[in-house]
């Protein structure tokens, strides 16, 4: 029988505007997650990370003076950490590592390292055939997806804004959120904010902050001897669909349809069994498309589905309970923080924003321009 694998530690680095280096934030995230698990760097034999340098996992191993038996530097944007959960679980099951840390940190706000046009790599086809048109990367792609969605299924920008309004409601319950204490927002606020790439305004777009996080994985058998309630990896799935703006025919049908289907099948559950949902909200449309594609509602139905307050605190489908990339923290590849929040909810440690009795959670990452999609199903015994 295949060994079962669990997350036994989870933590954030400092968040917001830190003035700290990437490796300092990485060190905070990793050591705090290990401390949460009752472990130290000496216990780690597997490292999965990205966003540090060309040799990210190698770099971090060197920085921690570890010589791991397994590493992974899958570079897939914001979904990479959900993909790494799958790879790490497989590595533990195969006996290639016993204790794996998955981590990410960025100082993009302090370092002012983000560019509206994205990263220029002159040798790729997009440099010749797309970048000359001055699209914003990645927001213009999501903008086109939003335009196609509203055109195809109807609905309004105000309905889409509910994603940002609900995220703010959650952030007001999370003292670590960047927008904590900043008060609620309305759909009207969102649609009348400065237009960036129509139909998306600045309030449809995630924050740009520093931040990071880490999770620690080991076998469920070993997890039972560690201090925290083990959060078991029940299922996972992924899809990789495009780098260019023109590879995918239907922008309203993202790879999350397939990644979610695979993850739910592996876990042997359906969306109806999910108590708390964390999806990447790089933009309002990203989260809306993900909720629909994962099967929480029918095709073309998400704007009506969320209109009744369902995704807000107290609603039937608690979504992005940290406040999300829109109102909590967005250090770039936000997917690691989806996992951290899912773990905290399942352990019952989320304070004012705790979803009562949550025992099954889904974390779903999206990377690039709806390029990569990875879903993880997590659970605890209650």
């Amino acid at each position: 029988m295949t060994a079962r694998v669990a997350i036994v530690g989870a933590a954030e680095s400092d968040l917001g505007v830190t003035g700290k280096s990437i490796l300092t934030l990485q060190s905070q995230a990793v050591t705090r997650a290990l401390a949460d698990a009752g472990l130290t760097l000496a216990d780690v034999d597997g490292i999965a990370t990205t966003g540090i340098s060309r040799f990210s996992a190698t770099q971090l191993a060197d920085y921690f003076a570890i010589q791991p038996t397994w590493t992974d530097s899958t570079f897939a944007g914001g979904s990479a950490y959900e993909m790494m959960v799958a790879r790490a679980a497989q590595a533990i099951q195969a006996g290639q590592a016993t204790t794996i840390v998955i981590s990410f940190a960025s100082n993009q706000r302090s370092a002012k390292s983000r560019r509206l046009g994205g990263v220029h790599e002159p040798h790729i086809p997009e440099a010749q055939f797309e970048e000359p048109y001055d699209m914003l990367f990645p927001v213009s792609y999501y903008a086109m997806a939003a335009q196609q969605y509203l055109h195809k299924f109807g609905g309004t920008r105000e309905q889409l804004a509910e994603i940002a309004v609900a995220a703010r409601e959650w952030a007001l319950l999370n003292p670590k959120a960047f927008r904590y204490g900043k008060g609620p927002i309305t759909a009207e606020d969102v649609v009348t904010s400065a237009m960036i790439s129509s139909p998306l305004t600045v309030a449809d777009c995630c924050l740009v902050t520093d931040g990071g996080g880490a999770v620690v994985l080991t076998s469920l058998e070993r997890a039972r001897d560690l201090p925290r309630k083990p959060v078991e990896i029940l299922g996972y799935g992924e899809r990789t669909t495009n780098t260019s703006f023109t590879a995918v025919d239907d922008l309203t049908a993202p790879g999350a349809i397939g990644s979610g289907r695979d993850a739910f099948a592996r876990a042997g559950i359906t969306p109806a069994d999910v108590d708390v949902l964390q999806v990447y909200d790089s933009f309002t449309i990203t989260a809306a498309l993900s909720v629909e594609a994962l099967g929480f509602c029918g095709r073309g139905e998400v704007l009506g589905f969320i209109a009744d307050g369902r995704i807000r605190p107290g609603g039937a489908l608690p979504l992005n309970t940290s406040g999300g990339g829109l109102s909590y923290c967005h250090p770039g590849q936000y997917g690691i923080l989806l996992l951290v929040e899912a773990v905290r909810q399942l352990r019952g440690e989320s304070g004012d924003r705790q979803v009562e009795g949550a025992s099954t959670a889904v974390a779903h990452g999206t990377g690039g321009i709806l390029s990569t999609h990875a879903t993880v199903v997590l659970g605890v015994d209650r």
Partner: protein
């Protein structure tokens, strides 16, 4: 528009860019399986052939598949707002481009190719 810096053509894309000097819009055609693709590649994504890819001239017509009006430019000296779009060429492939002549474009609008000449003699296809 303030002209962008377009990287030089490479071994695969030289023919496509050379055609733009004569304001001809090409797509790649596989003579083995008939597949059309854009942008040009070293391989046919339908039949895997690397030996049957040729350039075929398009009619220069298409339909707006999606578009977005951009209000903050990613580089200096670009006038905003401007419209970036996916256009579905009449022959089938999608192309990323700009829509010129106004900012009131909608999905389904019929468009025709026009050209923005670059200092090196090449030209960027745009649509109106």
């Amino acid at each position: 528009m303030s002209l962008p810096e377009v990287p030089p053509a490479d071994d695969v894309t030289t023919g496509w860019w050379d055609a733009t000097r004569e304001h001809r819009l090409m797509v790649q055609e596989c003579t083995q399986c008939g597949h059309l693709q854009h942008p040009p590649r070293a391989v046919c994504t339908a039949c895997s052939s690397m030996d049957h890819l040729e350039l075929r001239e398009t009619a220069g017509t298409g339909e707006v598949d999606a578009c977005t009006v951009i209000h903050r430019a990613p580089r200096p000296d670009v006038d905003v707002p401007y419209t970036v779009a996916r256009v579905r060429l009449t022959e089938g492939p999608l192309i990323l481009t700009r829509l010129v002549d106004g900012d009131q474009w909608a999905i389904g609008d019929q468009v025709n190719v026009g050209w923005t000449d670059l200092p090196d003699g090449r030209a960027l296809p745009v649509f109106h």
